[in-house]
Amino acid sequence: MIGLASAENTPRPVTLLLILVIIALVSLPFVGVNPYILHLGFLTFLYVSLSSAWNILGGFAGQVSFGYSAFFGLGAYATGILWNAGVNPYLTLPVGALLALAFSLLVGYPCFRLSGPYFAIATIGIGEAMRVIMLNLGDITGGASGLTMPTTGGFSKTPSYLSALLLMIAVLLLVNYIRNSRIGLALLAIKEDQDAAEALGVPTIRYKLLAHGLGAIIVGIAGGLYAQYMFYIEPNNVFGFNLSISLLLMPVIGGLATLWGPVLGAIVFVVIQDTLMASFPHLHLLTYGLLLVVIVLFEPDGLMGLFGRLARFLRSRYAEGQARAPSGEQSL
């Protein structure tokens, strides 16, 4: 079911293939590829990291949060402000991560006493409150006119591309570890029945805080990378409700509580955004909406569920064919 009891780890050929893919992705900037490809690569790695981060609490533990933009914004502003103050931009990333972690614990401690829709509603309020506060802290955040960063480092996309790739690999390894450990089992138990999990000794609030904190660290770092890449941030963007929604849409589209679902969801997301945004500025929102409705109605397990169903169907057709062949011979 979840690959824990049966110890079904990723088969060796797949691991090899993944290593090859990573080598190819790392070497991409050094073979003189079109900068636009690097741009798409950066966005994809960033969104995969964000989507997988949301999946830890939202997918495995089933706690739907609309407030993740707060972590992204904190990471982005930590980088922006410290970079402008002369700190090396890479050293600003851990600061943003720690800020996001601290905020996640502060918010999680009271909110995890709520359950179901009440938790989700509380997170909407917190996300929006952060946006408004940051808009009004003009002296620190630059308010609605935003914050511009030093551009002396030049405009090479390669460092950002590689940082985002590294983040994505780290996140996927983390999720893979969680999925196969007692942490993953605890989170899934919380999703299925929190009271039963608690009664069997799972400290449910502590595990939700852990999942929330891990997600926050990742999203905070991603926010910092975004600031480094864009050289410009503003509260309505990095603290925006749209961002929180996107974070949630990707894993839902791809498949919750899986390793590859959020990856697929993020890729679909970037592709749709890239192909539709330029020509029809609002059509991508409509597309996500439609996708969401279709998925919730017909395939709650997302694209991964759809692929699983397809694979089972093909396998059963194959098995049927195998079974029919010998009997056919007999009748002849």
Partner: protein
């Protein structure tokens, strides 16, 4: 010292006393039953003991330490585990994974996956669900889901096991199997507090029984003592039969 002791335990819902001034002691390694007609306060009492409800007054002591008001995950770490009357299996997990939760997060909290799996498998064999280990929990019959509920609780290595109507709705064969399992668990040194509606089950397995009616204790003793007690007969069958 008593393993579990309730002192003047009382719970009001509005003006209604669901449980009133109940005192009892559960001794080491016994099976202690609590019975009573519908609405007698059994489930409320159970929830007070497990901390799901906080008492209006009175307290519950486990080996001299107060446990009322603690989170269930804390009491598990002290060696007290409960089952639920309405079974709560983790439907999307396999039977084995359900038990693994208890193994990983119970009293000793195994960390090695290989050892945890072996231990979970051992427990499933012990309760008689070994063959269903890889089946989704949702595919089990109600009888087997009740066994799984006990298996998961047993997996946390409790010293005191609180069972809530584990024979409710079972066929006579399933009931006999569950009672046999309870005896096997007791033989491993565990103390059991057992709340049950099913009279025959309680009478057959318990060393001592407490009878509740309208939230108050009306009798306590062995199965024989309790079943011949006029107050108990009156509570169950009405005044006509008590003479």
């Amino acid at each position: 010292m008593a393993v579990l002791e309730a002192r003047k335990l009382t719970k009001y819902f509005g003006g209604l006393a669901a449980v009133k001034d109940v005192d009892f002691q559960v001794h080491e390694n016994e099976i202690f039953g609590i019975i009573g007609p519908n609405g007698a306060g059994k489930t409320t009492l159970f929830n007070l003991i497990t901390g799901a409800l906080t008492p209006s007054s009175g307290e519950v002591l486990y080996r001299g330490r107060r446990i009322s008001g603690l989170r269930p995950s804390r009491t598990v770490k002290m060696g007290v585990c409960r089952t639920h009357q309405v079974v709560k299996p983790f439907h999307k997990m396999t039977v084995l994974e359900n038990v693994l939760v208890g193994v990983y997060f119970g009293l000793s909290g195994l960390r090695s996956p290989a050892r945890a799996r072996a231990r979970a498998m051992e427990i499933l064999e012990f309760v008689g669900l070994g063959e269903r280990a890889d089946a989704p929990a949702s595919s089990l019959t109600i009888g087997n889901q009740k066994l799984l509920e006990i298996a998961r609780a047993w997996a946390t290595q409790p010293e005191l096991l609180l069972l809530d109507e584990v024979c409710g709705g079972l066929t006579p064969t399933e009931t006999a199997r569950t009672l046999e399992l309870m005896r096997k668990i007791r033989d491993r040194g565990v103390t059991i507090l057992y709340i049950e509606h099913n009279m025959r089950a309680v009478m057959g397995v318990c060393d001592r029984i407490m009878v509740l009616n309208y939230g108050q204790k009306i009798a306590e003793g062995t199965a024989e003592e309790v079943s011949t007690d006029p107050a108990v007969i009156e509570a169950y069958l009405g005044k006509t039969f008590s003479a």
